[in-house]
């Protein structure tokens, strides 16, 4: 069939029925115009429906956002926190949700992985607010990650409740208005091993080696508090040094501490470093009589990764299932039943932080940031971690105990009133 379209259109529509050129163009124009209009109308309607559905969806649930270190160096903490957050939310949803404006709404927990990176933590919180429309937030873990996200929450005037960020690191980062922290005080944590050893009347040569990472909490505990406390308790610091949080070799520090005869070694490091340090202490043929590894020796992976080498290592604790607080034993049992893994104190502060936030939402009866924030400020109740009441710096301190790894489990060894076992001294 010969082409029926003039000039430059040759080659097009070769198989179409013949039409006069002007008629074809009009027809096309008309069809295109109508089709475009139709498509535009459909797209507009679709968008409107989507927006309405999204708005309706938002109104039908309460979104709580959290950025957590689910991978990277701090993942050992993140896994416990995630469970604590999810468990608290599941309990509330199981009970029918939270009444907002007279209507019970379910809570949806939106969690994003910050890969143990402060920049990603900040970005996650930004996305949780802008994309997921979170009504309130829960914190990450360790001062660097918590502060990165908390500053974003603060800028958006959205309430955040967190654990896993000790007092001095938390309160020195910012004069918080919308962020609240339930955790321990570094000063109490730093003093706990000294008090535990003094109360147990252990005998050493009183020489101390201090190793700490250069993160905010490591600097406070290892760089400032421990040297002061050592002087107070009449001990001599023979080695005191810091290292980056991603360091893997500690042979020089350990060889130095061994050569100087330190019988007490105090370490503040995250879990990968804590495991490496304990192994390198052993392979150096160094046998301190007391070994405290704050932070990194707490998660179950420390004992799991080291086996018998973990025995005798002490670490500060703020929670144990034996504590006389409502739901403490049940919480640990629920964790172990669901995950078939040993629990950690991090399930408790994360669970308590979520409970504080959910209680505030319920009391406020609103998803408005200001209303929730004002209600959090008035929190005065006993949770699974103990009494929670925020001070003027938005911090609620938890009581500290000293725990020790013994035969693959952690045992509370100080103070006497909370002890579940006796101090193992010297370490095997």
């Amino acid at each position: 069939m010969a082409p029926m379209i003039d000039g430059g259109d040759q080659g097009l529509f070769l198989d179409r029925p013949a039409l006069p050129s002007h008629a074809l163009i009009d027809s096309l124009r008309s069809n295109n115009s109508g089709g475009l209009k139709m498509r535009r109308a459909l797209v507009t309607i679709g968008l409107l429906v989507s927006l309405l559905l999204a708005a309706a969806g938002r109104a039908e649930e309460i979104v709580i956002g959290a950025s957590l270190p689910l991978s990277g160096q701090l993942a050992s903490f993140g896994a416990f926190q995630r469970w604590g957050y999810e468990h608290a939310v599941a309990e509330v949803n199981h009970a029918g949700g939270i009444a907002i404006g007279g209507k019970f709404l379910p809570v949806r927990l939106e969690i994003r992985d910050d890969k143990s990176d402060a920049n990603i933590s900040a970005g996650n919180v930004e996305n949780l607010i802008s994309r997921d429309h979170a009504a309130a937030l829960l914190g990450s873990c360790t001062p660097a990650l918590v502060s990165a996200g908390a500053l974003v929450a603060e800028r958006h005037r959205l309430p955040m409740v967190t654990g896993c960020d000790p007092r001095r690191a938390f309160t020195s980062a910012h004069p918080w208005k919308y962020v609240w922290d339930v955790f321990f005080d570094e000063a109490e944590l730093a003093a706990a091993p000294f008090k535990a050893l003094a109360d147990a009347h252990v005998t050493t040569n009183r020489k101390v080696a201090i190793l700490h990472d250069n993160g905010p909490d490591g600097q406070v505990v290892g760089g400032e508090l421990w040297p002061e406390l050592a002087r107070t308790y009449g001990l001599t610091v023979v080695v005191s040094t810091s290292f980056p949080v991603d360091n893997t070799q500690f042979t020089s520090i350990i060889a130095d501490a061994k050569a100087k005869g330190a019988e007490i070694m105090l370490v503040d490091a995250i879990t990968p470093q804590a495991v490496a340090i304990r192994k390198q202490i052993a392979t150096a043929g160094y046998h301190p009589r007391v070994l405290v590894i704050e932070k990194g020796a707490e998660p179950a992976q420390f004992g799991g990764g080291l086996g018998a080498l973990a025995d005798g290592v002490m670490v500060g604790g703020y929670w144990d299932s034996s504590f006389p607080y409502p739901g403490a034993r049940d919480l640990l049992m629920a964790y172990e039943r669901e995950t078939h893994q040993r629990g950690s104190q991090h399930i408790a502060d994360s669970y308590a932080a979520t409970k504080v936030l959910l209680a505030a939402l319920a009391t406020a009866g609103s998803v408005g940031g200001e209303a929730i924030n004002a209600t959090i400020a008035k929190t005065n109740a006993t949770f699974v971690v103990g009494p929670v009441r925020f001070d003027a710096q938005h911090f609620a301190p938890l009581p500290i105990v000293e725990v020790q790894w013994q035969q693959g489990r952690t045992v509370v060894v100080w103070p006497a009133k909370a002890a579940t076992g006796k101090l193992l001294f010297p370490i095997p």
């Binding site: 689910l70 991978s71 990277g72 160096q73 993942a75 050992s76 993140g78 896994a79 890969k115 143990s116 250069n214 040094t241 810091s242 290292f243 980056p244 991603d246 360091n247 893997t248 070799q249 500690f250 042979t251 020089s252 520090i253 060889a255 130095d256 061994k258 050569a259 100087k260 879990t271 990968p272 470093q273 495991v275 490496a276 192994k279 390198q280 052993a282 392979t283 150096a284 043929g285 998660p299 992976q301 420390f302 799991g304 990764g305 080291l306 086996g307 080498l309």
Partner: protein, 289 residues
């Protein structure tokens, strides 16, 4: 620091350096023969560490005795990766294969997290915490064993590269892949075997690293950085250069630790690495061994 402590640290540096040479050897071979910057090398090392860990915990086989098994398994995993991911991109510039390996490293890291969890692991055996006293020097037995095994494997690879028909083909492919193909060398096959050999070395090196240290799914980046320093110092594709550079990096790191504290280990080693890049960019022994 006392002389005994400094001596112990330096000896540990030498021993660790031997392990570094094995962990970097696969990267060096692949870079030298295939001109491929294997950004997933760190993840191969981590996989080797997990292989050693699970071999011990699941089957009870000592990871050192199981090293040949781990190396063979890693080689078998790597060969199809080369065939389906890298070979189609060879000859199309360095960027595409490099970015593919970068993507693979991210995929592997996430797979490890999903499969093994993000928990910190460490390979614990009866000997991994034993100390060996050599006069005033004390070192871990596992460091000595790791060093000896690494030197042995590096020596075997050197013999393979310098004394066998495969080694001749490998060297020919490294010098000029086009000319090697003209004289009858099956270059894609040589490259696939080189890639598999590199992964096998990474598997063995990763297991040794897991014995002396802790690891997580995210440990690959630190392993890769260390391996790059060793490869550049030693010269691309040079087996003996990699051995020499590994030990040099180990000693430099220990010197940094002794002089300035363990926090400065990497800084000192990387500063020297940068200095070598300026003065002798081809490395210690480029084109030799």
């Amino acid at each position: 620091m006392s002389i005994e402590a400094a001596a112990s640290s330096l000896v540990v540096g030498v021993l660790l350096g031997g392990i570094f040479s094995l962990t970097a050897l696969g990267l060096s071979l692949v870079l030298g023969v295939m001109r491929l910057v294997n950004l997933a090398h760190g993840e191969f090392l981590v996989l080797g560490a997990y292989a050693g860990y699970y071999l011990l915990t699941v089957t009870g086989i000592d990871p050192l005795l199981g090293l040949p098994l781990i190396a063979a398994a890693m080689g078998l995993v790597a060969a199809p990766l080369y065939r389906f991911l890298i070979q189609p991109l060879m000859g199309r510039g360095v960027e595409a294969p490099m970015m593919t390996m970068f993507g693979l490293s991210i995929v592997l890291q996430n797979l490890y997290t999903a499969a093994f969890s993000a928990d910190t692991r460490s390979i614990e055996t009866g000997y991994s915490a034993l100390a060996l006293n050599l006069g005033p020097v004390t070192v871990g037995l596992v460091y000595v064993m790791g060093f000896a095994i690494s030197i042995g494997i590096v020596g075997l690879i050197h013999l393979l590269v310098s004394r066998t028909a495969f080694g001749r083909d490998l060297r020919a492919s490294a010098q000029d892949a086009g000319a090697a193909a003209i004289v009858g060398v099956n270059v894609p096959r040589v490259q696939m075997l080189t890639f598999a050999l590199g992964a096998a070395c990474a598997g063995a090196g990763g297991t040794l690293s897991g014995l002396v240290n802790s690891f997580t799914p995210a440990s690959g980046a630190a392993y890769l950085l260390n391996s790059f320093a060793v490869v550049v110092l030693g010269g691309l594709g040079s087996v003996l250069g990699t051995l020499l550079a590994g030990i040099t990096v180990g000693i430099l790191q220990s010197l940094g630790g002794v002089l300035f504290g363990d926090g400065y280990r990497d800084l000192v080693a990387l500063l020297v690495f940068l200095a070598v890049l300026i003065v002798r960019p081809q490395g210690f022994m480029a084109g030799r061994g």
